[in-house]
Every structure is written in C-alpha cells, then in structure tokens.
Amino acid sequence: MSRPYCAVLTLTALMLLPAIAAAQPAIEPLRTSTGTVDFGVRLTSITGDEARNQRYRDLRNGPTIDRARYNRDEGAWVLNAGADHAGYRDQRYFAEYVRAGKLKVNVLWDQIPQFNSAVTLTPFTNPSPGVFRIDDALQRGVEAGTLKLSDVAATATQFDLRSKRSIGLVDLVYTAAPHLDLTLNVKSTQRKGEQQWGIGFGFSNQFEVPTPLDHRTTDVGSALEWANSRGLLRVGYDGSFFNNNVDQLVVDNPLRFTDTTSATSQGRMALWPSSHSNMVNSAGSIKFAGRSQATGYVSVGTWSQNEPVIPFTINPAISPIPLARPTAEVEARVTAMNYVVSSHPWNEVSLSARFKRYDFDNRTPHFAVTNYVRTDQSVVTSLLGGTEPLGYVRDNFDADASFTPRAVPYTAFRVGYAREEIDRTHRYVEVTRENTIRAAVDLAGNQYVSLRAGFEHSERTGTGLDEQVLDEINEQASLRQFDISNRNRNRVSTILQVTPIQQLGLSATIATGSDHRPDAAFGLQHLDNRTYAFGFDYVPREGTSMGLTYGYEDYKSKQMSRQASPGIQFTDPTRNWFTNGADRVNNVNGNADLLTLIPKIELRFGYDFSRSRARYDYVLTQDTTLAAVTQLPAVLNELHHGAMDARYLLRKDVSIGLVYWYDRYKVEDFALDATALPKIDVNTGSILLGNPYLPYTFHTVSLRLNYLW
C-alpha cells in the first residue's frame, strides 16, 4: 500500500480515537444518530475488460470514504450533507440547508465517469484539439503502394478511451411570503474526454479516431410560484446554453497524401454546434366544486444556433462551392401547452381530460445546396436541393373515466380514449392520427390481493402520403418508415400481488404488446413483445427478509427489404428478403437480509443475473434470385452480479464490515467482440479503434469501518 494511503488511515484512526475511547460502553439499543461515515479500503481484481464494469464508476484499489452523511437539526433549521466515493472519479458531494418555512438550498457536485475502453489503439496523433494526423511518410507510402494500411496500424499506441461528466448544481427555494416561493436553479455540466468517432473516405474506407469532448452546458431556471390549497400561479424562465469548444474534426486520410478532384488527403467534419434555448412559461391551477381541478401550462421560446458554416470541403483540389450563407441561422420556435381538467363529482366516479400541444416550428431558412462534396472526394448533385427544416405540431387529447362501485370496495374500473395528431413538414407522410382506446381494472387496498390489469388498442393512420418523395430519394415507393407508418397496436399488462400471510408476498407480471404495420410492403412490419416476471418476498420476522424474482422477455420483429442495384433490379420482387429478429432475455434477481439472525452481525446478500440471446435471421422468398444467405450467429450477453455485505457491531456506534462484489460478463457479438475486431486494421481499407466487447470478471473486496455519531 502506498505511503499516502497509510498516512490517511493513520490520521483517520487518530482522529476517531478520542471519540471512541471517551464514549460510554453501555449496552443500549441503537439510536438515531446525526452522522455516519464509512472509512475503508478497496481491492479489485480484474480479469478481462477493465472498462465495461467501470463504465460509470471507479473501482480502483485504495482507501475509501463512502456513504458519509451528516445531519444537524436545530429545529428551526436543518443541514444535511453527504459524500460518496470521495476522491474517486465517481465522487459525489451534496448539501442541503433548510430553514423551516423560509429557505431551502441544495448544492450538488457529481462526477459521472464513462470508461469505454482500456485497450484502445490509434495510429493518429493529435497535435491540436479536433485534429488527427498520420505521419506524412506513411501516407505517401500507402498512396504509392509501397506500404499497406497494416504498416500504419503498426504505429498505433494504446490509450484509455474515457470521458467524464461533471455536474455542479445550486437549487434554491425562497419562501418570500406564506404562499409565495421564488425558485432559482443553476446547473453547469461539463463533459471532457474522448469519444469513439468514425469518418469515411469512400464506401470501403472508414477510420475511427478518439474525437475530443470538451463542452459545457449551463442551465438556468427561475420561477415565482404562488400556491395555496385552492390554486396555484407560476411564472418562470428556463435557459440552456450549450458551448462546444471543439466544433470541427479534421482527420488525415491514411490512404492518401495528395489531393485530387476524386481523392483527398484529409477530411473535415462538423461536430455539435454551440446552441441555446430560452423558454418562458406560465402555469396555473384552480380547484372548484365537485372536487374538481383545472390546470393550465404554457411555455414559449426558441432554440437556436448560428455557428459559422464550414466550407463544403477541405480538399483544395476541388473548386470551392459558394455557401448559401456564412452562418447557420438555425432557429426553431417551440410552444408547448398542457391543459388538464379533472373531477371527482361523486364518490364512485372520477373524470379527467387533458389536451396537450407541442409545436416545434422550425424557422430555419432553406440552405440551398445544388452540389455538395461527398466525403471530401467527389462533387455530387444534391437530390433535394438543400436543407429541409423539419417541423411538427403534435396534439394529444386524453380522456379517462373511472368508476369505483360501492359493492366492490377498493376496485376501480377505468375506460379511456386518447388521440394523437401530428402535422409535420418535410416528411412523405404529412399528418398521422392515432386513436387509442383503453380499459383497466385496479384492485388495491385489499390486504390479500392486489390486481392491476390494463388493455390498450391503438390505430394510427397517415394522410398526405407523397410517394414521389420516396422516388426522388431512390427509395421503394411502398416503403413505410416505421415511426410514421400506419400501425395497429395492442398492449395488455397484468400485475398480480398475493399476500396469503403477512410474511409472504407473491407477485406476477405479464405484459404483451403487438405492433402490426399493414401497409408496410417494405420496412418494419411486425414488432411483438412479451414479458413475464414471477417472484416472492418473505419476511418471517423483523430484520430477516428474502426475495427472488425470475423474469423472461421475448421480442420479435419482422422487416422487409429488396437487395437491388439501380435499374431493373429495383422492381424485381424475386430480390426481396426478410429479417426476423428475436431477442430473448432471462433475468433472475435474488436478495436476502439477515440482520438479526446472529447477534451483532448483519448480513446482506444479493444476486442479479441477466442473459440475452438475440438472432437476426434472413429469409428469402421462394422464387428468389438472390444467392443463398449465410445466417449470422446469435448475439449473447450474460451478466452475473453477486454481492455480500457483512457488518459486525463492535459497539452501538462503531462497526466493521466486509463487502464482496462478484461481477462476470460474457459476450458473443458477431460485429463487436474480439473475434469480429481482432485488430485495428480490420480490413485492407479501414482502421478502427480496436475496442471490442470483451468479457470480464471482477472481484471487489472492501473492508470498512463505520462510525455513527
């Protein structure tokens, strides 16, 4: 163990010694304390992928301060503060100050790491943010044919592919008067690190680089809210400001050193533009006779970005194409409304209705493009003549009626109707309307049985279909894109909980769904899912509990396509093919808490298992003229997580503990595992980052000392 860690542990023990030594060693039951903290040390053994199990956390070896909580209660005010994983990449600190009836302040600092890979390789150098270069000699050699791409790959160096999201938040609620609150919140989120990113130089030449992430989002919100038991009035503002410090990517083409009108030595890509959103909102609600309430909400504002538009190409051999304008001038006016009326006029009857509108009014001027440059290598005529500023208005109406008959207490029968209408621009189906009817029964409040069951049937149809648009972009005219296609949907769900005796609870969940797209000659046609879960919880006495749940999920899909080159093949039905997708998942979750079985010892056990197996099987028509297909292997993901937490109470305010975590992941993925990506130059024309999905086994042991005061 390193010297700093020894010093920390020694210091810790010295600080605690007076408190522990001076406390009375009386035998008393545990009492509420005003603070707790775990001091400990963690050791982690890793076999295989170091990154995936630490995707969003930091399990490195070393001393730990965790689950620290401090509470100071002076009646008129309260301070709560805490820290988790102090000093590690996933550390989190928070504090809350509440002055009763007057002020509430929350402060948070939270770091969310993202560890994607510890085995990433790249031959690119990174002389400045967003710029990736290959040695000129290598580029010349590959272009001349004296070197291969594998020679470029051989110069790769290894690095960790990581990023981190750091969030700072201040949230304040000030009660200016008994019914009047002023709220203010400011959140700053910084994201730094690198992300896997691809750039292409032709149909068979793709390269990946670790594109830099260096951006910050600042969200500011404020509101004035007046509320009492009869009504509420609120006005507010929400602003969001996204600033990206690296908004362009320039990448050398490893295959070329010289530029021509059909080949480039480098490529340039636009990354996320800095943008901002400003919205003002107002809300009100009022209660009136018949236990009724009406609520209204309106929000208006704009989303905009006006970043400089990069040139069509970085390739100097291609004559510059004039830009329609130098900056993006992108703006959307966003209006949202939400109105709800609910009433409980009689004890047995409850009614509610809601109308909601979301208007994304994209006012971006058309950016004309006659010709553009594909992958910095060839000038191509634009099929659509430029940008299409997509906008839509989405209206939702919901109405529900619930009946609770006196003869059947604690049971509610509900019927409902919903309608969604979306009117959109720049898509080949202009308007879609979906009508939904639903029914449900909810039996709750009975100590033995609880049942919730529901059924929903929806039908979506579109109008304004313009097949010519599909023709213009060389798509099959009978393609129906699944998010706007006609669709019939059915969903059934049932949740049953039975408590035959007070100590035992049994539960069962069954949910099924079916989507059918009747007019989709091409595209997604069917999507079905089923979920079953069964479990029990057993609590024989206070401090002892155990539970086990098994879940099974089954997803099936069917989609159709036609493999064709332009010309006669495009209309040849013997070239049709189907994809049958199937994804089956088995889950097991178990837990046991034995807190009083052995005096002074608390034991907790947990186990989670998830295994998914997916297949994508291709089916040809009976009169097919296509070559026989070779089916893809199944995709398997299997995760085991076991946990044991043991705590021994040395005294009422001091305990020692041992925590053990076992994590094992197994993967077979034909596209992403180590057999698919054995090396970074996966073929003669591409270099990737070499971060396949890898299995891992983690053993994590934590020893800890818990102190309460």
Binding site: A68, Q206, A227, L323, T375, R424, A444, G454, T531, S612
Partner: protein, 322 residues
C-alpha cells in the same frame, strides 16, 4: 478536482469540525429533536383551545406512541415549519378530528384510517398541503387515473428510504412493483448509470405527474427530456435526421438494451427498417459479408461513416458523413 488523497484529507478535516463537542467530551449523544410534542399540561397551558371535535396530539400518542415517535423523525413532525401537520392540528391535521374516535374507545370508523380509505380520498388529504411544484400535475396524471394514491408509494409513519419517505429502501425497488419490464432492462449491457447509483427513476420521471409524455419531468416532449443531459444533440441542425428530431425513442430504448448505445435493434438492421434504397442500404449483411469483414456490419456499422446521425451542420452533411 482534488486527487483522492487531498480530497480525503479535506473531508476528514470537515468531519473533525462538525463532530459534536458532546461526542468528543464523552457524553452520550442525544436524540435529535425535530419539533417537540407538547405534554398534555403544556398544551393546555400554552396552546389556544382546540376546535370542537379535536383532542390534540398528546391525546393521540397516549395510545399511538410508536406512530408519534416515528413521525417526530420526519418532516411532517417538524413543528418549526408552519406548513407541517405538527405545526397545525398535529395528528388530526391528516387523520381528522379525533374526539369521536377517542370517545368511542378507538373505533376506527370514527377517524381517517388511510389504508382503509379509497385512493382518491387519501390523495385529497395529502393535496391540501402538497400543492406546489412537482405535485401540481397529479390530478389527471397517469398514476392518478390508475387509482394510485400517495400511500401506494409513500409512508408517513414508517418510511424505509433515505429521502422522500418511500415504502421501499430504494426507488427502483419501489417502481419495480409495477414497472418490472422497465426495471429489468437496467441490467442490460447498454444502460443508463442507474445500477451504478448515478441515476434513479426520478432522474427522468416525475411520478406525481408532469406536462411531458410518460411522466418525464423535464421539458414538454420526450426529446426535451433527453437533451437536458445530452444537450449536444439539441441542435437544431442544418441537416436533420427526421426520426430523431421527432423522437429519440424511435431508435433508442432509454431503460436499457442489449444493443450498442441503447439502440432498439442492432445495426445495420435498425437502419434497414427505413432505408431500403439501392446498393448498400438494401444489401443483406449476412455471414458471408461478415467473413469478408464488411465494415457495414462489423464494428459501428452504418455510423462508422454516417457518424453525424443526429444531425449535421456541414453543408455536405445531407447523408451525415460530414
């Protein structure tokens, strides 16, 4: 941000500052007092006379001592806050006048017993105080129309969670009671950082109701919720990818997925649900293509080239290559 070593030292220093003097001196720590419950005599002497039908909290705790003690450790028992029940009529703020219940030797039909009340009647009581901010949209919300009440999820007298007085220790355990399919997805290989403790259900949802779809708590539409964290995808962009602009969940499953990047299906099959045109979009990427290491099935597949799939600000970005 500080290194691990310096962060630990700083925290230890703060710990030393806040450790109460009583602990260092050796006196046994005291139980925190969250609003004193007056004795019967004190109430009689100090408080104004109770309205007709009310008996006062001190009378209630003579029989319901454990409920009184449990309440004193929660916000509802904080008499210093004028908005709490304890600052008003005490137990009877929620349970109603108690005199009839006392006079009838504890007849439970003479007082509000929440587990035995109809769901909407329970909620009406809670909503007399919980009327602001995140509770504004309860009436007519998805949970309310399914006959859930406040005590379906919350416990006033015996909460198990650290915050929000839930009936289970953690949010996900509670939500799994009804939303098992969504909770199971958290265990998938591609997931939000829920099981790592960095997010929970209410990071995205407001179970009390919202102006958004699916009880999403931020914004007014699904996309606004997603871009509250993934703001780089807000745009808008010169070239939009329409299904993404209309809804993020066209392609992604936010609860978890076995596919990369929380996609609802593997690439290229997902893209081939909408792109059927000639040449490479409609090619069958089968085992033979896999053996030839076609980059359109191996690795990141379609987005290896069409990387700006959420939208592009480049004038050459109509196919999201640039």
């Amino acid at each position: 941000m500080p290194t691990r070593f310096s962060a630990i030292l700083v925290f230890l220093g703060c710990l030393g500052m806040f450790t109460p003097a009583t602990a260092r001196a050796g006196a046994p720590p005291k139980l925190p007092r969250i609003g004193p419950v007056p004795t019967h005599q004190q109430a009689a002497q100090a408080a104004p006379a109770l309205p007709s039908g009310y008996v006062g909290a001190d009378t209630c705790v003579t029989c319901h001592d454990s409920e009184g003690k449990s309440l004193s450790h929660t916000e509802h028992g904080r008499a210093a806050n004028p908005r709490t029940p304890m600052a008003g009529m005490g137990c009877e703020s929620c349970h109603g006048p108690g005199k009839a219940h006392v006079d009838a030797d504890g007849d439970i039909t003479k007082i509000r017993v929440f587990p035995k009340m109809a769901a909407r009647d329970v909620t009406q009581v809670c909503l007399t105080c919980h009327v602001k901010s995140e509770h504004v949209n309860w009436q007519g919300s998805a949970h309310e129309t399914r006959n859930l009440s406040c005590i379906t999820c919350h416990s006033v007298h015996s909460p198990k969670s650290e915050v929000a007085q839930l009936k289970k220790t953690t949010q996900i355990e509670l939500c799994a009671t009804c939303h098992r399919p969504q909770v199971l997805k958290v265990q998938r290989t591609a997931h939000m950082p829920v099981r790592e403790g960095k997010m929970e259900c209410t990071s995205c949802h407001n179970p009390h109701g919202s102006t958004n779809q699916r009880l999403l708590k931020v914004g007014n539409y699904i996309n606004e919720s997603c871009i509250s964290c993934h703001t780089e995808k807000r745009g808008p962009f010169l070239f939009e990818h329409p299904p993404g602009r209309e809804s993020c969940v066209t392609c992604h499953d936010p609860h978890g997925s076995s596919n990369e990047r929380l996609l609802v299906a593997k690439l290229p099959m997902l893209c081939q649900r909408c792109h059927i045109g000639t040449n490479h979009p409609s090619t069958i990427y089968d085992g033979a293509q896999l053996k030839n290491v076609s980059i359109r099935i191996v690795g990141r597949s379609c987005v290896a080239c069409h990387e700006n799939i959420h939208g592009s600000n480049s004038p050459s970005g109509n196919a999201f290559h640039r």
